[in-house]
Amino acid sequence: MTDIPLISPRRARIAGVFDASSVPGIALGCTMMGFAVIAREAGFDFWMTFLTSFSVWGMPGQVAFVSLYATGASLFLMFVAVALANMRMMLMVISGADILRLREAGLPLWKRVLMMHLLAITSWAQISYRQKDYSPANLRVYYLSFSLTIFAFGMAGTTIGYYLDDVMPPEILRLVIFITPIYILLLLMNAQQSVSRLAAVLGGAACPFLYAIAGDWAILFAGFLGGTGAIAYYQLKAYIEDKGRLDG
């Protein structure tokens, strides 16, 4: 633990705002603009759009939700689709709470619930990428300021997208929306542990093929296959190396 530089919580807070205010914030803000455009086309008024972003705060689920709403799907189907699209939240929260050492922080439950409400793909990938640079206490400060900034960008994007969807020409908007998948995929490939990188490669590569067969279930299948495959590979490798040492 000696390689973690000692910095003040204040600097961690500023670093969080600063890191969020560049590529992640702009990418997320533009993705939310894209969501607001779809939501308006589906017939949502402004407050419906705004509160969906605010209370769901998970892009794939939101898009699944308004897309189905536009097609006139049943309430039950919409509920199932959102639940399915956002199931990864549970795993991300377990992993994120572990990265942040949330249990050691001694925070009341409602504060932890609010903190985890802010967890989205961007902030989870960010703390996973940054965890070696901060002590757990500073990482929590960093996470909170990073995710609140991202949240502000996202809500601003929702508002701008709803009212001014013609302020940005579609030729530009489609470029900017491309930033989110590229940014997060490259961030995942920068993970500290090789098992995480392998899991991302396997899950990402399997998804398009599984999608052709299983539709949106492909995300769950690809996740379980990729994650289990990566863990199995490294467990097996460690076992063989151990055995080699014992035999040799």
Binding site: V82, R88, S95, L175, L185, M189, G203, G226, G227
Partner: protein, 110 residues
């Protein structure tokens, strides 16, 4: 256009929020019971990585909305270019900038 009453629309928004909240909340409760360095935690972390990568590949390969107006070949080529730059330079910002510039040029001029 689908016909929902105002009440139904607000109900679906509540249900969407509730569905997402339930996953987050159960994750928070479960995280108290899983030991940090256990194999189970490593597995959950690996599945989370694979699942997030899968979500983004789904968006990249089968986009909805305006991204769908760009050709699939360009999107995949730019991802490959970004990955290549990252392995060569080991710098995240170079990779993102390179991939985005390549995408902008391809989509605008070809």
């Amino acid at each position: 256009m689908a016909e929902y009453t105002l009440f139904e629309t607000w109900l679906t928004i509540f249900l969407a929020a509730f569905a997402t909240f339930s996953w987050r909340f159960s994750g928070l409760i479960l995280s108290d019971y899983i030991r940090p360095d256990s194999l189970l935690m490593k597995w959950i972390n690996a599945v989370a990585y694979a699942m997030v990568a899968a979500v983004l590949m789904r968006i990249l390969v089968f986009p909805t909305g305006i991204l769908a107006t760009t050709p699939l070949d360009y999107r995949l080529a730019c991802l490959a270019f970004g990955l290549l730059l990252m392995f060569l330079t080991q710098k995240l910002w170079v990779a993102i900038l390179g991939a985005m510039s390549a995408f902008a040029v391809l989509v605008t001029y070809f």
